[in-house]
């Protein structure tokens, strides 16, 4: 082995979690190298040009999960993070042109500003979610305990979780147990009348998942999203797109002494006597390391970079069976001017626009994916970030960024053939809300899950690297045997979205993993 420099820690992947993890490790005195395969850092949280003069957050486009405390600890604002918008509201669009406006505690008719009919129920629901969030949020900051070990650390963590949940009180606890495993559709039916509102609330429960509103477990994914956001609906747009967040993370890492390398693809993780020893890069270079911490998705890390020959067969099978195919795609449009959305004043286009006029609409869009199809009426979460951040487009022009669901990983006919057709479908879907939009399009880019897989090196292209569902959640995330950020091989750790608490631009997987690495002597 051509033993090049040796590091205490090599972090595979310079996505936001890899950068967060690296920074905490370096701050604790470890020598740290980040190896990122892409030409730039940031992973699925980057800004890039997609048409001359038009830049966009190429995957994740709204920041709402990263705890403020983490951003303060990492001094991101000092390292260059600035905001285009700190509180982005939500508009539930309706083709007839009377949108609802959802904010922290209020639900109003956008046209009149008056409280919408479901307003009281909405406030009650938000308050309930806030109470659940208060009980569940601390869990995200922690390494999940192991079951049945008898270790005081595991018992303590389980006990404190039990206590926090118990403290919800009888009524809330009962409600949590009742709805925790069921589908969001049923809960929304119980509480609300307006199809438009139910569509908007269902969207947040299914965004980034492989589920429709009637799939069991979608209350859990909503609870996760709101617990992670610790208060929900505080959606923000970093100035310069998501890439400037990860640039600030990279600056924080550099300031802590982390060495960052791009265009450095890790090909293998080398093991000697059941302990991680080094990584090899495409091109043949070897970098020695005492610990390797991977933010690549768990399947790629364990089955490709490490290899099943270092793992037990039962564990390997569990990893191979992880559900990692995504259903979310991304649409980027370069617009020569601001389109007019029916019933939405131009000033409101800084908000997030939801194209999901009812829960049934979402469910129908979802149904197609079972048959390798996409719906003629897909669900979309649309932002026009250039309204709040003119730096993203040439003056007077705009970019539109939309998450599109549901796009099957494998589509009948293949994506080469389907991509242009889907683009037409999406434009006509948008035209139902903003009739002048299609004629304003100067350039378009559409990323289906296989494109996301390729560009961001996420096997399967899943939002959370691996489905966030009860069987791949918390205590058993990503799979039993690799929880607590540790792989079965000594010195190998996982720190990406595939770990607890999951994906979204949050940074907690990275921070929790760093804590686990530091528990072991340098």
């Amino acid at each position: 082995m051509s033993a090049a420099a040796a590091y205490d820690c090599v972090v595979v992947g310079g996505g936001h979690n890899g950068l967060v993890c690296a920074t905490y490790l370096a701050r604790a005195g470890r020598s740290v190298l980040v190896l990122e395969a892409a030409p730039s850092l940031g992973g699925a949280a980057i800004t890039r040009e997609f048409a001359p003069g038009f830049r966009v957050s190429a995957c994740a486009h709204l920041l709402h999960l990263m705890p403020p405390a983490l951003m303060r600890e990492l001094q991101l604002e000092r390292h260059g993070l600035a905001w285009a918008a700190r509180e982005v509201g939500t508009l539930a669009l309706d083709p007839s042109g009377s949108p609802l406006h959802l904010a922290q505690g209020t639900l109003t008719e956008l046209s009149s500003g008056a409280p919408a009919p479901d307003s009281a129920a909405f406030q009650e629901w938000r308050a309930l979610l806030r109470r659940f969030t208060a009980a569940l949020h601390p869990v995200l900051n922690q390494t999940p305990p192991r079951l049945g070990t008898g270790a005081w650390r595991d018992r303590g963590a389980l006990l404190s979780l039990a206590l926090r949940i118990r403290r919800l009180g009888r009524t809330d606890l009962r409600e949590l147990l009742r709805i925790g495993g069921i589908c969001i559709h049923d809960v929304l039916e119980e509480r609300f009348a307006s199809p438009l509102l139910k569509g908007a609330l269902a969207l947040d429960a299914v965004l980034g998942t492989n589920y429709g509103p009637r799939s069991p477990g979608t209350v859990l994914s909503l609870l996760y999203r709101s617990a992670a956001g610790a208060g929900a609906e505080r959606l923000a747009l970093p100035r310069g797109g998501m890439g400037s967040l990860t640039q600030a993370l990279a600056e924080a890492a550099r300031a802590a002494g982390v060495r960052l390398r791009t265009d450095a693809t890790v090909e293998r993780i080398l093991v000697h006597e059941d302990r991680v020893q080094a990584v090899t890069l495409a091109g043949g270079e070897t970098v020695r390391a005492r610990a390797v911490i991977s933010s690549a998705d768990p399947k790629t890390t364990l089955l490709q970079l490490l290899g099943s020959e270092h793992l037990d067969a039962g564990f390997t099978r569990r990893v191979a069976q992880l559900r990692t195919r995504g259903l979310a795609g991304k649409l980027h449009l370069a617009l020569d001017g601001l389109p007019v959305f029916r019933g939405v004043p131009a000033s409101c286009l800084r908000d997030r626009l939801l194209l999901a006029p009812s829960a049934d609409y979402i469910e129908r869009a979802y149904n197609h994916t079972k048959y390798r199809e996409y719906s003629a009426a897909p669900m979309m979460e649309v932002t026009v970030p250039s309204v709040a951040d003119p730096s993203l487009a040439p003056s007077g022009q705009h970019v539109l960024s939309a998450i599109v669901q549901y796009l099957p990983y494998e589509v009948a006919g293949g994506w080469e053939e389907q991509r242009p057709r889907l683009l037409q479908t999406l434009l006509s879907t948008l035209a139902a809300y903003a009739p002048d939009l299609p004629q304003r399009v100067r350039a378009a880019e559409l990323l289906a899950p296989p494109d996301i897989e390729r560009e961001f090196r996420i096997g399967g292209g899943h939002w959370h690297h691996a489905e966030l569902a009860l069987d791949q959640f918390f205590l058993v995330r990503p799979v039993p045997g690799a929880t607590q950020y540790r792989a079965p091989v000594a010195g190998l750790y996982l720190c990406g979205a595939g770990c607890h608490p999951g994906g979204g631009v949050m940074g907690l997987a990275g921070r929790n993993a760093a804590r686990e690495v530091l528990r072991e002597a340098a």
Partner: protein
């Protein structure tokens, strides 16, 4: 009458290519199921068949042994990650006894691996393993194919087995060493030459061979062996007689001496190779294999219990006996999984799982045995000593060329 179209679970058991011949020899018509096949339990009498194994030669139909063909560039790496033993030195023409474990280091099954060529192996096991083999194949360039039905298998075991095979026309068989296999041609006046694979392996702990045949050759080979053999006390044997011989040889029987970790339902009833006294098959130095980390931890802790051989006072087999620390039979320290009176050793033998404090040779435990004397039940607590295994290991099982009795 069941028709062809009846669902598979209502179809009669499969018949091995020796079935018709076995029926002709069977006096008791006592067939039992084994891996989906119907096989003979006892032909005439267990004792007579046992003595054929130990004093002459025996034919035993082991076609139901599940056989897999494993080939591909990663065949060796795959097998070495599957089993606990190091197979990297197993060259073509060699056979190895192996066990494999689940992730927790608990035994799934045992079997034999035949190295056919650089990238081709055969795995023979008691039970079907395809699911586990497939899981184990993730990330390895191997092809796994079940070939159970393509091969008829006949064990020829006993002190005269080499002589018998030579007489039958298997020239060169005397040069085959233990745990070797080779291709042979059976030439005999008046018959087409038949080519077959023979391995010097078996389940009796005695001199013996296993013949791996094309199903079409099964009956001719059987006929030839019995033409030569029957005047010399050779006879087909059933699994009951074989069971006595395998206990004498100290071999474990799945579902009797251990339950596969793939099948146990109760926690703690699975067994590790260390507990089963198969530690010699576990090679911690060869690189990773499934269960290695768990077994290493177990070795550091020291196994809680272990399988031992017992010599039990008296002559009543200690079937399923509970074992105690002393004659008062108050504190249980283990139990017997296999027991037999051994006519050859003239000892009352048992295989038993006992607590760690009782595993060393010379330890004494007490066995609780129930005797049925013409419907009058008696309970006996008798002394049992831990002794070396195998109980029976004649030098002839190893000698090459074997003496021609």
């Amino acid at each position: 009458m069941l028709t062809e179209s009846a669902p598979h679970y209502r179809q009669p058991l499969l018949k091995t290519p020796f079935h018709e011949r076995a029926r002709e020899w069977s006096q008791l018509d006592s067939f039992v199921p084994w891996s989906g096949y119907s096989t003979v339990d006892v032909f005439t009498s267990v004792e007579q068949e046992y003595f054929a194994i130990r004093n002459a030669s025996s034919l035993y139909d082991l076609t139901p042994m599940v056989k897999y063909r494993i080939c591909g560039t990663d065949a060796l790496r795959f097998l070495n990650r599957l089993v606990t033993r190091d197979l990297s030195k197993l060259g073509p023409g060699k056979v190895a006894y192996v066990v494999w474990c689940d992730d927790a280091g608990q035994l799934i099954d045992d079997g034999t691996v035949f190295c056919i060529g650089a990238q081709e192996y055969r795995l023979c096991t008691g039970e079907r393993q395809l699911d586990w083999l497939r899981a184990s194949a993730i990330g390895f360039a191997v092809e796994i194919q079940e070939i159970t039905e393509d091969i008829a298998a006949l064990a020829v075991q006993g002190p005269t087995s080499c002589a018998l095979l030579l007489r039958a026309g298997l020239t060169g068989i005397e040069r085959l060493r233990p745990f070797e296999h080779g291709e042979f041609t059976l030439t005999r006046a008046g018959r087409e030459p038949m080519s077959l694979m023979v391995s010097r392996t078996g389940f009796t702990g005695d001199l013996g061979y296993e013949l791996w045949l094309r199903p079409a050759d099964a009956e001719p080979v059987w006929d030839v062996l019995l033409e030569e053999g029957s005047p010399r006390a050779v006879r087909p044997v059933g699994s009951r007689a074989l069971n006595m011989a395998r206990i004498e040889a100290g071999f474990l029987l799945p579902n009797v001496d251990f339950i596969s970790a793939a099948h146990t339902l109760y926690v703690g009833t699975e067994r590790s190779p260390l507990e089963l006294g198969l530690g010699w098959l576990v090679d911690f130095g060869k690189g990773h294999f499934t269960g290695r980390r768990a077994l290493l931890a177990e070795q550091e802790r020291g196994p809680r219990r272990q399988l031992v051989g017992l010599d039990v006072d008296g002559n009543k087999p200690a079937h399923n006996a509970l074992l105690y620390s002393d004659r008062s039979a108050r504190r249980e320290v283990g139990s017997v999984s296999s027991a037999t009176w051994s006519p050859t050793c003239k000892r009352n033998l048992a295989l038993a799982m006992v607590e760690a404090a009782y595993v060393s040779v010379g330890s004494t435990v007490w066995a609780e045995i129930y005797l049925n004397r013409e419907l009058t039940w008696q309970r006996r607590v008798v002394r049992a000593r831990v002794v070396e295994r195998p109980f029976f290991a004649p030098a002839r099982r190893r000698s090459t060329p074997p003496a021609l009795y």
